[in-house]
Symmetry: C2
Subunit: 633 residues, 2 copies
Amino acid sequence: MDTIMKQIRISFVVGIGLASFLISGALSARDAGVINMAALGAKTDGSDTTPIVRAALAEVRRGEATKLVFPPGRYDFYSVRANEEYLFVSNNDAGLKRIAFPLQGMEDVTIDGGGATFVFHGEIVPFLIGDSNDVSLKNFSVDFIRPFHSEGRVLAVTEDYVDLAFTEEFPYEIRNGVLVFTSHQRYSGPATTVSSGEVLYPYSSLLAFDPEKQETAYMAKDRYGLGEGAAAEEISDGRVRLKLPNLSADPGNILVFGPAKRNYPGFIITDSSGVHLSGINLHHCGGMGVIAQRSADLFLKNIRVTPPAGGKRILSITADATHFVNCTGRIEMVDCLFEQQKDDATNIHGLYAKITRILAPNRFEVRLVHPQQAGVDFIKSGTRLELNDGPSLQRHGFARVKSVERINKEMTLVETEAPLPEDIVVGDSIADADANTADVLIRNCVIRGNRARGILLGSRGKMVIEGNTFHTPGAAILFEGDSRYWFEQAGVRDVVIRDNTFDNCNYGVWGNACIQVGSGIEKEFRSTSRYNRNIRIENNLFRVFSPLPLLSMYSVDGLTFVDNQLERTEAYPVPEEKEEKLFVITNSENVKVEDPRMVSKRQRKEMTANRGNTVIHPKAVNLKDNRLRHAFH
Amino acid sequence: MDTIMKQIRISFVVGIGLASFLISGALSARDAGVINMAALGAKTDGSDTTPIVRAALAEVRRGEATKLVFPPGRYDFYSVRANEEYLFVSNNDAGLKRIAFPLQGMEDVTIDGGGATFVFHGEIVPFLIGDSNDVSLKNFSVDFIRPFHSEGRVLAVTEDYVDLAFTEEFPYEIRNGVLVFTSHQRYSGPATTVSSGEVLYPYSSLLAFDPEKQETAYMAKDRYGLGEGAAAEEISDGRVRLKLPNLSADPGNILVFGPAKRNYPGFIITDSSGVHLSGINLHHCGGMGVIAQRSADLFLKNIRVTPPAGGKRILSITADATHFVNCTGRIEMVDCLFEQQKDDATNIHGLYAKITRILAPNRFEVRLVHPQQAGVDFIKSGTRLELNDGPSLQRHGFARVKSVERINKEMTLVETEAPLPEDIVVGDSIADADANTADVLIRNCVIRGNRARGILLGSRGKMVIEGNTFHTPGAAILFEGDSRYWFEQAGVRDVVIRDNTFDNCNYGVWGNACIQVGSGIEKEFRSTSRYNRNIRIENNLFRVFSPLPLLSMYSVDGLTFVDNQLERTEAYPVPEEKEEKLFVITNSENVKVEDPRMVSKRQRKEMTANRGNTVIHPKAVNLKDNRLRHAFH
């Protein structure tokens, strides 16, 4: 690849004029290893910046530069001349993907956006950091010209249908009686036997948002199973009757059509270490915001997942803000804003593979069961596997891998150095015992308005969660892990949760407490399983309208809840049938739980002023800190 | 790979019992390089044969066998333990595909099915022959448990809808008001944010077939643009009202739902030579039957593309029966039956790439424009390119490739050894001047009842088409080629068409003559372009009901039509507005056309008896030679 690149290096500079590059570009574009992207040909006129990035990265690969700097302005990126790679990205959808910034095999590289906005067009991944070390990306905004999701304002809801109004932001057609979301360009190619290549925006789910509160609508439920479309008719231009009965939405809500796939995450980090992301507004992408797998030492500072200014969209990105799979070293998220994305703010976990056949005492077949983990291989010669009982998630020992044969993205044949313990049976699971061990710091972040939960903690390393503000419709903090459906390896060892504000969480349907264990331990094994350990919760403020418990936990060894404060609010209606109980803690040991100190509004204000956390006023969301938003239009 | 395979060789024998293999299998399974697949563990009990094939191929790779033999019976193949590869397959759809028989890197290998039936389940390619030489496959039938297309019997047609009846062969659901074709297994997984992994059978087009005549319905038109589904409701169990207006179908027709993608061709042959396929019934696959690219010396004998016996389906396979792209050496199709497939019987052509940017006198960018040619790279260092004028397809010289950089599956940067001629401009096209040169023999084949045309001839080698019987709804023989839409390089040099029977062709909408030029030469250049050369048509019998010409041709240098016979029939109604004219030949030179000799039915019967061709009686198709069909159920 490198040789070819050198041979036809000049052809990288598509669109910038051959002569000018040869005469002046090579000198003026860089200064002590810094490439000025404008000098290299990047323009703010809407033209394609992708080939310029490729040219710059070729310079970097030749060792002629270590830093790319963009002057302020808007730069556009198209897929047509982007490199592509088949990528298996955990918890997103695999595929052959075009990549605008293909940062592969990089060492010690910085991209400074200089406050620029990067606008992506169509089916393209903004950033891939693969097999790289010490990569810094900073100071820019990311958006897409046409979001991967769509939004319609709810005009009416009946038992038989919902009427919606769509703005030009979300072009659509009714095709053969089916609602189809399209690109801004209407497809004009001939109709033939051949797949058209038209870019469409398929949806698979619906969820109502409240545009006043800028969050998921109170107790709104997901509607799934729409992957094959839904019947609809156009009432008038821009107004559509969607023939779905009993939808969970009210007039005035914004109904969000969730994309059928998570094909285009914002930042894919794989098999890399030393990644620093800072000062980035991530307004949109078609998958998770930052997804890191098999990587180490990942630092996110001042990352703002938020819709673009202007009020044209209620959703920011279409899945989790961040997600970390089999990561080691250190993970930090500091001073970040994660709001209005279509799923959790973060989830830090490992991978379980299911044992599907045992062929010999030291030979067996495993399967990556979760469709979005398929291909995310983690078993290599030399890997130390933990062997886990499926129903209880309890460990039954370790085994060292001797050899591996990958049959396909799901199935792998494994040979271990020693025989497996006899109590390991088909249906049990394995994980890499030494991955998913990152120490984690989540500090001074604001998480609000997104679908589902706040943070899912599953790393086996030390985790500190401090000074954050949560305003999540589900649990703010969830301890997950299971080898039955999600196949996410978790089971924490050392977690400190302190100085946070839990600000009227649980206004939606995704959880049964503010801080919750949801690990997939079958009920009859919860009394003996101690999957999560050493969770210390101290000096947090809980503002609650909800009758749900503050804590709902089981199978924990070591739980401390001390020096916390509680403020009652009336932020939302209280479901009448719920029974209030502050703590639901079962099948656990070494538990120390103190009732929280009740505080008044005034006391709370003093407290939070001293602490520096933001308290969110759900009913006055238009007053929220606009400094966190970055102008794009 | 080989090392890993050896290390865990034993794990291949999943499902056959470890001990028996170690003790007896290694000896009894083979005899002088022949593997008895039953001895190796293949069973006719519905269990998965895929791992057994993988075990056998591992033996072959180790040089321990050259032949696999199946005892008679039915063998089933599932995708779950099949190897997979990302494949770019010309004129089909690219993707990561599971493969039941992954014949890669093979030399001198034979698979003898012994009359067995191979039944495939779900998303799997039956055969891949890649980077292999001298591979013979013979004596078996191929079918799928659930076809990739679906069929409904037409009950009623109105201006607003069509009512259809579906058998259990084609399971469906009405989901959210949309007609969806499903697997036999109903999906039962949980509804979540994750793509389900459910296997569905999406459709994108409709075409009516006549179940009495076992062919496309008289003058039926394709309905395209259904890729996003169509609104429908269930009238009663198995009866569906499809809300599509003005469909081209009549009550009693079978409406075929064409698959949205060509993902699962029957036999993919790529970068291989010396491939012999014989005695194969190809009842179904989800793409082309045999697609060969960048390969040489391909021999098809007694290949029968035909629906399974039993009358449960009218369609055989979902695209062209065979297709050859950039092939060299020799292509033979002898004693084959190609019937009721969803597209042409064959198409033999090269590939054009479009010049999209000229960066320097010897550097330019090209694009593979046709979405189903993307990734089918044909330009390498050393390739001799022909340089073609886009509108006229006339050649403007040659250029030798010095280096290539592939940007992505569509775009490639090319550097040539010498500067391009000055008259080459953006929009012109290139092709490999030395590919698509196979000599072709198509002898004693029967082509009937399929959608569209018979054979599309575009090889630059010598082609002999003799003793075949065509009963095609469009042109029986078409000379295509264009660099505007299909980007198929053609332009024949030497074609002999003799001793064939053209039996009431043109009963559909896909052509304007029995033998036709349809090359994409813009009209103002037809007077000077001589894209096709030396076509000799002699001693053929044309049985015609149609007022369309026998020949419709332009831009030909060298056309001879002598010693042919014509019989008038009343096989179909004659569209009234058509004007009859035997020959429409324009902008051509060196043309010798003699009127055919008129023959009576009696004279024709004597002729065809002597010659041995079958004449097809469209209205008595139930009498057709059932020896050509192979019992499956």
